[in-house]
Symmetry: C2
Subunit: 253 residues, 2 copies
């Protein structure tokens, strides 16, 4: 009996009609069958939000004329949950999310809908990968991201991923210089808001924000990207600080 | 010169007019001055979402007739960012979020707006605490949560919290049996959607979901709560799986 081709579930947070998701679906399709379940519109910076107070709908659609897809009126995490529970006839061998238009390195991991889709895949027990291009532009050169994603998908399908761990890949625009393992860099945003006054003399605020590195010792995702490499970070959804927990465990409150 | 009273920033995800935030503000006010900056409506399950595509507004208001507050048309993380950047004259000594109506133990931590407000406080460099009552009911007996929150705030103001770490406190409704250190439990949701058909014959899905423990060895937050204790978990926003990163660091991709 012929072995079934791997089934790869593809999602993102930029919406089902972005360039990035088409690029990632194309890469995935060289390894197996592709199913796309993604938000019907831009869902950037939604983090790990899920939709509990309104019902979800999934509209069947074609992406780039060749991939079967469902456009969902929800968040990236919703898409993976709904695909897993309702939309897929067989379970995926891999969940990939992206290619995001914009970096998901450093503190951005926390706010990222792209990463949360992959994390949701991990929670549900599937090997999962998030892919981002550090260039925000919708028409950025994704050739290096595609090549990096190809390498990592190949690695995952051959070796698997430890339970509870998600792979987070970031690559600069343009040709690939190489993929480097890295930890999540310590970084933050500063001057995050621009205050304005509306025609009725009421204040309002636009979130803007300047990204700031808090450390630079060569080992972080942001360092790798600055050196022109793609960064690959294993991340986990067990947020426990086991080090501090051990230290405090004898403290009585 | 008299030492200034601590300033405590209070937020939540159930909205500025919930019972829980009033209870937490009352506890906080026994330690210092209180400022409330919270969503103007229910924002449950928004995770670490931030608002980038619409402007934010902050409406000055009184909570329970005694606390100065700002109601913000955004997420819990937005509230903390906006308070830090625009609304506060001096920086807070502590950020507290809650009391949430519903558990934020186990996998719920990932989806929680309450926890993300506290995490945002940590990212900005403030000692931060999330407080949740495991009973969903709006009129649950919060006496044990109040007492647990009082103990932990007292501990934090005296001892501080390590950089990068947030305290996540969950307590059952009713009197306090005690506070126990715990790690985030491995858990997940199953049967997450209820599919329906609308009057126009189109499918739609309500997220429902049954909480399921994946392990039970006595040391997790969920275990502690089941034994009637309040659980206190130090969590971190560095999501790197350092263990796996070390193991894989020699693997060439």
């Amino acid at each position: 009996m012929r072995k079934q081709r791997p089934l790869i579930l593809v999602s993102n947070d930029d919406g089902i009609f972005s360039n990035g998701i088409r690029a990632l679906a194309e890469v995935a399709s060289t390894f197996g069958d592709v199913m796309i379940v993604a938000p019907d519109r831009q869902q950037s910076a939604v983090g790990h939000a899920i939709t509990v107070s309104t019902p979800l709908r999934a509209q069947k659609t074609m992406v780039a004329g060749i991939f079967t897809g469902h456009a969902v009126n929800g968040t990236p995490a919703d898409c993976i949950k709904l695909a897993h529970n309702q939309l897929m006839d067989r379970k995926p061998d891999l969940v990939v999310s992206g290619i995001n238009h914009g970096s998901n390195a450093g503190i951005n991991i926390l706010y990222s809908g792209t990463v949360s889709a992959a994390t949701e895949g991990t929670i549900l027990g599937y090997p999962s990968l998030a892919v981002s291009c550090t260039d925000f532009s919708e028409d950025a050169d994704l050739s290096g991201c595609r090549e990096a994603a190809h390498k990592v998908i190949d690695y995952i399908l051959k070796n698997g991923v430890d339970r509870g761990v998600t792979f987070n890949l970031n690559a600069p625009a343009g040709p690939l210089k190489g993929v480097r393992w890295a930890r999540q860099g310590e970084s933050r945003y500063v001057e995050e808001f621009e205050g304005r006054v509306d025609p009725y003399n009421r204040d309002y605020y636009w979130m803007t924000g300047k990204f700031e590195m808090l450390e630079q010792d060569g080992g972080s995702d942001i360092d790798m990207i600055e050196q022109g490499f793609a960064s690959l970070t294993p991340i986990q959804y067990d947020l426990t600080s086991h080090k501090l927990l051990e230290k405090l465990s004898e403290t009585v409150l």
